[in-house]
């Protein structure tokens, strides 16, 4: 009996080994047949074209709205001389023949146009328009100081899209690197007095309407501890230096925590909307803190708490919504231009599932929840990746009571079908 059991065990093990051997042989045969990868060369540009159709269901019924868009996005770099490079990034959005309410027929966004010079291996200068992106949070970036008035055409409420499709700021920047650390100092001059609504305007008045400077410093203090410290001079009356801090930390092999904080004296959003920045002059702090965890099946989940100390608290938000509509609209516009939440406490959730149900299919979803009025914005995307083309279907929904943050938006639902091709 014992001999029989041993024999069975040996046979089972042998079958297992044989199956593994078969799988190994099949895999090695595939490798034998694998062609050499084509040489991609050394491309100097990234060029993409995106065609989109959008359908919107307006709040309170009414006729369905629709619009079309064709976007061309180019990023080009060229070495000019030893140590010097030229960079250009531009996006052209052509809309129509049907357009959603408020959309212009075409919008050009000059994202970047600058020269970079290397003054040695670890010293670098930039001069020109640079899309400087600061911050480590996913949904709200209090230390992304150059985000104000940067977005000319919203093509998606996905934060990644808002960060990508925006114009940079004209600046002179120097950076010094060393092992485990870096310091950079930039000066951004005043070149205009406000946004230029022209379709193809370079629009430096939007990004350079004040004299500003920023000092950033990062240094590795210990393993997995490299905070980034920022000192930002907003260059506006009734505002003092703003202090910023970015920090990330690995909690486990699957989870990363992030925290982003900015604080300093300045006017609150309500005072800005009144055009009287002296009114709300006080110390305010903004915070975004959360974590992203990834499962073995390539599903990443992000939860982020967002606090904007310069925004109205629950009582103030209720009072504003009960007051004149013009005042509320002015307040909302200021918050939107600054890419700030209009209320004090907010929640951001995001799920991204790579190769979700079959290879190359990516599913993403996002929720923004306003804790003051219980309104919500939901966004979801299914994206299928072909070799050089993406097909995507996006849905956006706004839920909430009348005049709540998201319930007041004109569209209850928005669908978008996209085809994007890279050359």
């Amino acid at each position: 009996m014992r001999h029989a059991a041993c024999g069975c065990l040996l046979l089972a093990a042998a079958i297992g080994i044989a199956r593994a051997q078969d799988a190994d042989d099949a895999a090695l045969r595939l490798a034998d047949q694998t062609a050499e990868a084509a040489d991609p060369g050394k491309p100097e540009r990234r060029l993409s074209v995106e065609a989109a159709g959008a359908w919107a269901a307006p709040r309170g019924g009414g006729q369905r709205e629709q619009g079309q868009r064709l976007s061309l996005d180019l990023a080009w770099e060229r070495a000019l001389a030893p140590g010097w490079r030229f960079s250009l990034a531009d996006r052209l959005d052509l809309l129509g023949p049907d357009r959603l309410p408020g959309e212009r027929s075409s919008v050009n966004t000059l994202k970047e146009l600058f020269l970079t010079g290397r003054l040695g291996r670890e010293r670098i200068v930039d001069i020109g328009r640079v899309n400087l992106r600061l911050g480590v949070a996913m949904g709200y970036n209090p230390t992304d100081y150059f985000r104000e008035l940067a977005v000319r055409q919203v093509v998606s409420v996905d934060p990644a899209s808002l960060r990508e499709n925006r114009q940079g700021t004209v600046m002179l920047r120097g950076q010094q690197l060393w092992q485990g650390g870096s310091a950079s100092l930039l000066y951004s001059p005043k070149l205009g007095s406000g946004p230029n609504p022209g379709k193809h305007a370079i629009d430096v008045g939007a990004t350079n309407h004040r004299h500003r400077w920023l000092l950033s410093l990062s240094q590795t203090l210990a393993t997995d501890l490299q905070p980034q410290l920022l000192l930002y001079e907003p260059g506006e009356p009734h505002s003092s230096l703003q202090l910023g801090l970015n920090l990330t930390h690995l909690l486990s092999p699957a989870c990363v925590a992030h925290a982003e904080w900015s604080g300093g004296r300045g006017p609150d959003l309500l005072a800005r909307s009144h055009g009287q920045p002296g009114e709300g002059d006080a110390f305010h702090s903004q915070l975004a803190a959360g974590l992203t965890c990834t499962t073995a099946r390539k599903l990443s989940l992000t939860a982020e708490y967002e606090r904007n100390g310069a925004a109205l608290d629950d009582a103030g938000w209720r009072a504003l919504r009960r007051g004149p509509l013009a005042a509320e609209l002015a307040y909302r516009q200021v918050a939107a231009e600054r890419q700030d939440p209009p209320t004090r406490h907010n929640l951001f959730l995001r799920a991204a599932w790579q190769d979700a149900l079959w290879p190359r299919l990516d599913l993403s979803a996002m929720l923004r929840a306003n804790a003051a009025d219980d309104s919500r914005q939901l966004w979801a995307e299914a994206r299928y990746r072909l070799d050089s083309t993406d097909l995507a279907l996006q849905w956006q929904g706004h839920h909430g009571s009348q005049r709540s943050e998201f319930g007041a938006l004109p569209q209850r639902q928005l669908w978008q079908l996209l085809v994007k091709h890279w050359f």
Binding site: A13, I17, A18, Q21, D25, L177, P253, T294
Partner: protein, 267 residues
């Protein structure tokens, strides 16, 4: 029971004998003498001793059909303090991923997208390359990351389906920042070339099997220029990683940090 072909019956018999041999051999496994030295020698074969760059192409298969392909450029430098490699990976193809970057320094991973100029901290579990783990494409110094024990000598089928006399090493993670908890590695007994490896999770589950093939002279040493990776759970998932264009180059320490990512250029 399904019908078995003659070759399959022969293989079963051979495997049964091998299995029985393995049981007998494991009872008299040699002591861990110079296992760590053997592992270090195999590291020196896989990885150049100086900072370097190389081109990597990944081709992925599922059930025999190609599902994805990526081209990368990898820049590596050994950390002077720990000896483990720190790696910067530049995505070259497909076009949608051109110039995206991944920086791996121990357990610290950053992903940089040039379109948004954003650097995002990612966890070791987050994947950027389909079936391949991020740890599969970066340079790994096994002797720094694992404690090795020589289990036995045995004949194993290599990546060219030839039987090869190998030293079988059992590797246990010595640092927390490794992609795999434990590894079984077969090194050619004659020259310490890596032949085959099996990678396991903490629970002992087989995650991947790898074959090291296509040995070519690169930077003065015969090195494997192809690794065939077979998924442990679903063997129909296969990734073929090919290496080429090994170049010894300066990779300054100051470049291997988040704040340098927007500055990185391939030259």
């Amino acid at each position: 029971m399904a019908e078995l072909s003659c070759s399959r019956i022969r293989r079963l018999v051979v495997c049964t004998l091998l299995c029985a041999g393995a049981v007998a051999a494991s009872a008299a496994a040699p002591a861990a003498t110079d296992a760590q030295a053997l592992l270090a020698a195999s590291d020196a074969i896989r990885n150049p001793g100086q900072p370097f760059s190389l081109a990597v192409s990944l081709t992925e298969y599922r059930a025999g059909k190609q599902t994805d392909a990526n081209s990368l450029q990898v820049y590596s430098r050994a950390d002077p303090q720990g000896g483990q490699f720190r790696t910067l990976v530049r995505f070259v193809a497909p076009a949608r991923d051109l110039d995206k970057l991944m920086l791996k320094s121990g357990n610290e991973l950053w992903f940089y997208d040039p379109a948004s100029r954003a650097s995002v901290r990612i966890s070791p579990q987050q994947r950027l390359l389909g079936q391949a783990a991020n740890g599969d494409v970066v340079t790994v110094n096994f002797a720094q990351a694992y404690r090795a024990r020589l289990e036995q000598q045995e004949e194993v089928q290599d990546g060219d389906r030839q039987l090869r006399q190998c030293d079988r090493l059992a590797l246990e993670a010595a640092t927390p920042d490794v992609t795999y908890h434990s590894v079984q590695m077969w090194l050619d007994h004659a020259n310490q070339r890596p032949v085959k490896a099996r990678f396991f999770s903490e629970s002992g589950r087989l995650l991947k099997t790898a074959f090291y093939r296509r040995y070519r002279e690169e930077l003065g040493v015969q090195r494997p220029t192809e690794i065939v990776i077979i998924d442990g759970l679903d063997p129909s998932l296969v990734t073929v990683m090919r290496y080429g264009e090994f170049v010894a180059r300066e990779v300054p320490e100051s470049w291997l940090q988040r704040d340098y990512l927007p500055r990185f250029r391939p030259e």
